[in-house]
């Protein structure tokens, strides 16, 4: 039997590829059927949030509630509030500040005219999120009910996702040495509670919504109001909907 070196390499290459494909198929066979989580069916929900900046009073209740509920280290934020100040003669350059994330409220700063308002920010739980696409190990993912989560046991701490998020919603948690971000209070919403930020918000400026629940008022809301997502040009299919958002907000 004559075989050139080249042929041998090609043959052995094919052999290796086919073996791993077979292994993958075998894994699939072994994996079996999905079992239902107790009392909660992931396939029956698709979580989102509606934020109304015109209702936000910048009290910082959401920031503090999130910190308490989720043990967020001091100086880091899973949700935060920004104050925008836009002068009518310079719409292109809004002034934005967020002292300590809005944790302690906002000391008065502007006394002139112009438009000033608060914008609560958080993870947008994008249906097509850049952060999950860049993770090299499958430590960040979107759940079947539409929540982007991090598996802290699997996260290597490489920080790719922090760079990838167009909204700056992720941070490096110095306590766990992993990437960290809003979980949409997954531990609460899967047992029928609303998120900590929504629970603490005094003006309903933020409201949790379930797009798969036909009775959720979000359907009527989305039909009858003008809503916007942040950075739509990034095609992330963000699920945090802002009502009547000012064009200067990034």
């Amino acid at each position: 039997m004559e075989m050139t070196r080249r042929e041998m390499l090609v043959k052995s290459g094919k052999f290796i590829l086919l073996t791993s494909a077979a292994a993958a198929a075998w894994d699939y066979v072994l994996a079996g059927k999905a079992e239902a989580a107790p009392n909660y069916d992931m396939t029956k929900h698709w979580w989102a949030m509606v934020i109304d900046p015109e209702k936000c009073i910048g009290c910082g209740n959401c920031v503090r509630a999130c910190e308490t509920e989720n043990d967020v280290p001091e100086g880091y934020f899973r949700t935060w509030i920004e104050r925008y100040h836009v002068d009518d003669w310079d719409m292109e350059h809004p002034q934005v500040d967020s002292p300590n994330g809005g944790h302690d409220g906002f000391p008065e700063k502007y006394h002139d005219g112009g438009k000033t308002f608060f914008v609560p920010k958080m993870c947008n739980h994008c249906a097509d999120s850049p952060c999950t696409q860049v993770c090299p190990v499958g430590a960040t993912f979107i759940t079947p009910d539409g929540v982007v989560l991090i598996d802290p046991k699997y996260c290597l701490g490489c920080r790719y996702c922090i760079q990838a998020c167009p909204y700056g919603c992720r941070f490096f948690n110095p306590k766990t040495n992993t990437a960290d971000k809003c979980t949409l209070c997954y531990h609460r919403i899967t047992q029928g509670l609303t998120t900590a930020c929504c629970e603490a918000c005094p003006t309903q400026a933020r409201v949790l919504a379930d797009l798969k629940n036909p009775k959720d008022p979000i359907h009527a809301f989305l039909r009858t109001h003008s809503v916007q997502v942040l950075k739509p040009q990034m095609a992330t299919h963000a699920k945090v909907f802002y009502k009547n958002l000012d064009g200067s907000v990034r």
Partner: protein, 154 residues
């Protein structure tokens, strides 16, 4: 036959090595990939249960109202009707589970009310705001307003 085997012996060795390598790879792969990885997507399904096991700290207003119906009734008639109890009292799930284990400290109205009502240009114009220093002239807010139903004379 002997000649033939001999002439492909070097090939057999390579194949053997390769086979060993592939088996080794599969064994290691089995060991490092957690069970059920990929069941719901490209992630470890057990992570969901671990995240869901996080303790709840805000009990939610329904929980408070079950025991404190007096305050809930007063509040539901006033302008603070839409506020959750824990928007002012802070996270109290531990108290709601076992009231004796943690008796909440009552909020200090000097700090509490100003957080929401201190006048600020960025707040929506329709939201009731006061310059607290001028408005209360140093008195605690609850000398005149009842926190659960803040309307004067209500």
């Amino acid at each position: 036959m002997k000649d033939f085997l001999r002439s492909i012996e070097h090939l057999l060795r390579v194949v053997l090595l390769l086979a060993l390598g592939v088996i080794g790879f599969l064994v290691v792969r089995r060991m490092v990939i957690p069970a059920e990885f990929g069941k719901y997507g490209h992630f470890r399904p057990a992570a969901l249960d671990e995240i869901r096991a996080h303790p709840v700290k805000f009990a939610g207003r329904q929980a408070c109202e079950a025991c404190h119906s007096d305050q809930a009734d007063v509040k539901s008639k006033g302008k603070h009707a839409n506020l959750g109890c824990e928007a002012c009292h802070g996270a109290l799930a531990r108290h709601a589970e076992d009231p004796g284990s943690l008796v909440p400290k009552l909020p200090d109205t000097a700090v509490l009310c100003a957080r929401c009502h201190e006048a600020n240009q960025a707040k929506p114009k329709s939201f009731p705001q006061v310059k607290t220093a001028e408005h209360s002239s140093g008195l605690a807010c609850n000398t005149c307003h009842k926190p659960h139903d803040p309307r004067i004379g209500g």
